[in-house]
């Protein structure tokens, strides 16, 4: 591995914080490996976003604003990424560990016959080897792996794992040529927005999560959302809340939902079942509000306040609102 390529996940010209985390980590790695730090931005909004990425320490920003990227599912994107990787030769490809990122990883892995390290929280270079550290088995084990038998390393990186220091050196912007002679099969007919997804749950640095204790859909809107907004975070949920239909499954955290690792996880009216725990146990600080002092969440949170969430949450939102 010599070069590092950051895959930029975005909607239009909006990208997520994890992109900047990856850009900074790519710089550090490329310097150790003696290669270049690239970022690839594809589809609608790419040129504007590329301009903004210049504020981060990359060498090259590879851009293609191609309508096929938005009209067809994934394949055009992978064609561009593969072409760039082959042109650069041995490289590490950093991809956010999100729903979309995992798709990209699986595809490019097959194209390049690459190794995949998933959900990585730390990267080190030791001699010739790139070492990837990631929590496995629901966070009960921290594994370190490396690559062999391949010139390409595909690495999905957990959001919030790396620091951002914006210190751009004015990266060069390069337009990518369209891969020739391709026909695409999966047509995106329309896109339906159900929630304003400015902040993805997986990359939020604060997650305010609600469980069965909320008792209905309404408290998610009237209690949790304002608290999450005051903290600049996103709302999550336990499976009990999603099963009850109070929130969409896309907010569910845990074994059969999303894994999150924010700096602050606030569990409101959630008991802390093992299946919930595995999706959030690696969070920085965990605070719980629960009326039951014996709830299992006490075993893996930093603070448990025993009381009624309906009384505590509005007061907390007020306190934070007046403090900021």
């Amino acid at each position: 591995m010599r070069n590092v390529i950051v895959f930029v996940e975005h909607t239009g010209d909006h990208t997520r914080k994890v992109t900047y985390e990856l850009a900074c980590e790519a710089r550090r790695l490329a310097d150790v490996l003696g290669g270049k730090a690239h970022a690839i931005v594809l589809g609608s909004g790419a040129p504007a976003l590329a301009e903004r990425l210049k504020a981060y320490p990359l060498d090259v920003i590879d851009v293609a604003e191609d309508a096929d990227v938005d009209r067809f599912l994934i394949d055009p994107t992978i064609d561009y990424l593969e072409a760039l990787a082959r042109e650069l030769g041995p490289s590490a490809i950093l991809i956010p560990n999100t729903m979309y990122g995992r798709d990209i990883a699986g595809r490019i892995l097959a194209r390049l016959e690459a190794g995949l390290a998933s959900d990585v929280i730390d990267l080190k270079v030791e001699g010739e080897n790139l070492l990837c550290v990631s929590p496995k088995l629901g966070g009960t084990t921290i594994a370190t792996c490396t690559f062999k038998n391949t010139e390409y390393a595909v690495i999905t990186v957990r959001p919030n794992a790396f620091a951002v220091e914006a210190a751009g050196a004015g990266a060069q912007i390069v337009q990518l040529g369209k891969p020739a002679g391709k026909q695409y099969a999966m047509l995106v007919e329309s896109v339906v927005e159900e929630s304003s997804g400015e902040l993805g749950l997986e990359e939020a640095s604060v997650v305010v999560s609600g469980g069965r204790g909320l008792g209905g859909a309404q408290p998610f809107e009237t209690l949790l959302k304002p608290l999450a907004d005051a903290l600049g975070g996103a709302v999550g949920a336990s499976r009990a809340a999603a099963d009850a239909g109070w929130v969409p499954y896309s907010l569910q955290i845990g074994q059969t939902g999303k894994t999150v690792s924010p700096n602050l996880y606030l569990a409101v009216g959630i008991s802390g079942a093992i299946q919930h725990k595995v999706g959030m146990r690696t969070s920085g600080t965990i605070v719980a509000i629960n009326k039951d002092a014996g709830a299992p969440i006490a075993d893996f949170s930093d603070l448990l306040v025993v009381g009624d969430l309906f009384q505590i949450v509005p007061e907390l939102t007020k306190l934070i609102g007046t403090a900021s």
């Binding site: 729903m99 699986g106 190794g115 998933s118 629901g138 600080t285 934070i320």
Partner: protein, 262 residues
């Protein structure tokens, strides 16, 4: 219509797990093997499709597993799947995501399919890379995170879940999809299903039947596990009783301040 569902068998997600520090493999003794929870949703989606399509639609469960754990697939058969095939051999042990996807794709080609349905994530490895890599090696259109699936006039129509909603996507068969939990709660096997499952077949396929032209297993894998360690210890919570709302809020507020989180 021939539907094949990829089903991984994983150590019980609810059991305490331990890694053997010498062999650096999961200690499976004492931990029950179960169907990967996500894959039960894939099975459910397939069975729903079969009900809607009727006719000669069949559902096959396909798993790359050691022969010794194959009986776990009886649950899929009891749920209503028609038959099961496993890909099994010592040479597959230690396969990483790449090797798994490569070997499984050759097995799927041999079985034949109109539609492959995968789960979204394996509970043990959880790379989420297999479905995408399979689509590539099978050379068929791939669609991940489907929350609703329909086949009309031999064409696939789906809603693909995104972080903020969904995309309406269509494509030709044969194809591969992975599903989310929104396809519906997996059914419980009925008593009749459980009895019927005893008579259904679980066929075994070996890599030798597939003419693989790449090394798989730990020899062919593109990644190597170097070390494992327990996660940093996390002490129990400070537990504080709050007499009323304002008191509780103040306790949390002060704590967040102290931790420089606000």
């Amino acid at each position: 219509m021939k539907i094949v569902v990829t089903v991984k068998l994983v150590p019980d997600p609810n059991a305490e797990k331990r890694i053997d520090p010498v062999g650096m493999r999961l200690v499976r003794s004492g931990v029950e093997t179960v169907l990967n929870p996500y894959d039960e949703y894939a099975l459910e989606a397939a069975l729903q499709l079969r009900e809607r399509l009727g006719g000669d639609t069949t559902v096959t469960a396909f798993s790359m597993v050691p022969e010794s754990t194959k009986e776990t697939l009886r649950k899929a058969l009891a749920m209503g799947v028609d038959d099961a095939v496993i890909l099994s051999d010592a040479s597959l042990a230690g396969s990483d995501t790449w090797a798994t996807a490569y070997a499984m794709a050759q097995g799927l080609k041999k079985i034949g399919f109109d539609l492959v349905i995968c789960g979204g994530l394996a509970d043990d490895g959880s790379t989420g890379g297999v479905p995408g890599a399979l689509a590539e090696y099978l050379g068929v259109p791939g669609l991940t995170n489907a929350r609703h699936l329909e086949i009309v006039d031999g064409k696939l129509h789906a809603q693909r879940e995104t972080d903020s909603g969904y995309q309406v996507v269509s494509g030709a068969l044969p194809a591969l999809v992975s599903v989310t939990m929104a396809v519906g709660e997996p059914r419980y096997p009925s008593l009749k299903g459980i009895m019927g499952a005893k008579k259904k077949s679980i066929a075994t396929m070996a890599p030798a039947d597939l003419g693989l032209d790449r090394a798989v297993g730990s020899d062919g894998a593109k990644t190597e596990l170097l070390a494992i360690a327990p996660p940093p210890a996390r002490g129990s919570a400070r537990v504080v009783e709050a007499a009323d709302g304002p008191t509780g809020a103040k306790i949390i507020f002060d704590f967040l301040k102290e931790k420089k989180l606000i």
